[in-house]
Amino acid sequence: MSDFDCNQLLERLWAYLDGEADESLCSELQAHIADCLPCRQHAAFERRLKIIIQYKCRGERAPEPLRIELVRLLQKPS
């Protein structure tokens, strides 16, 4: 069914999760994941971890004085 073993899947897992795998690689990876419980769980874990990292590290807001300073700098004749 799938020509990949688990190690080969792991090597390509992140590219797949990043949406960077081409169509044929995607279908091979999906076939392996469908057949292999440990890889399915690992993939789910990586996907959730990535979401948590985004959630925890994003959402900064620039301080208002910086915003004001930028506008002021842009008003200066160059």
Binding site: L10, W14, A15, D18, G19, E20, Q41, H42, F45, E46, R48, L49, K50, I52, I53, Q54, K56, C57, R58, G59, E60, R61, A62, P63, L66, R67, E69, L70, V71, L73, L74, Q75, P77, S78
Partner: protein, 221 residues
Amino acid sequence: MGAISVTPDHPMTVEAEDRARFEALVSEHLDSLYGSALRLTRNRAAAEDLIQDTFLKAWRSFHTFQAGTNARAWLYKILMNAYIDSYRRSSREPEMVDHEDVGDFYLYAKAQESDQYRRAGDPEEVLLSQIMDADVKSALEQVPEPFRAAVILADLEEFSYREIAEILGIPIGTVMSRLYRGRRHLQKLLWDYAKRAGYVNGKGTEDKGGAKTGSPTKGTS
């Protein structure tokens, strides 16, 4: 300010129009650029300097920017160039060396292999909920360069590999290897956090050879 002449027929000069377009870009992308600058420089004052530098450079070359092209990637390219320049210039900032061997470190496998996590029933759930409580920002900031930049651009900013290659001026293969290594580092750092936090009363997750005696909930009898 001399460039702005308000007349009934031409309310704005070309420069004022440019300025208005540029200010719109600033307000649209400032927060995300500032967030990345903060994760890159690891300090608010340096992040603010970097952002000012970035937008001044962007404004100076704004006439070369083609409307309708990827403004976000264009701004990030300027940000990363300014960051790398200032990083190289400041000798106070010690060059981070990637000593640590993070070879094949997988957080998932670590949770699976750990007796403590297995005893908790659902190792992945326990570990992920610990990471929800962990200081992930500070872990990310400890990932050495140039790997950290790749992780920030891919995982926080969700640029494609091709865009990251363009932003950093490196081949896609290099993007992938930096990203691979950066994520390994980050997972290792998160694992260190999780071990320190412990899953039961902050005890019992030492992974030292002979220290696995007794369950963390049991005291010495």
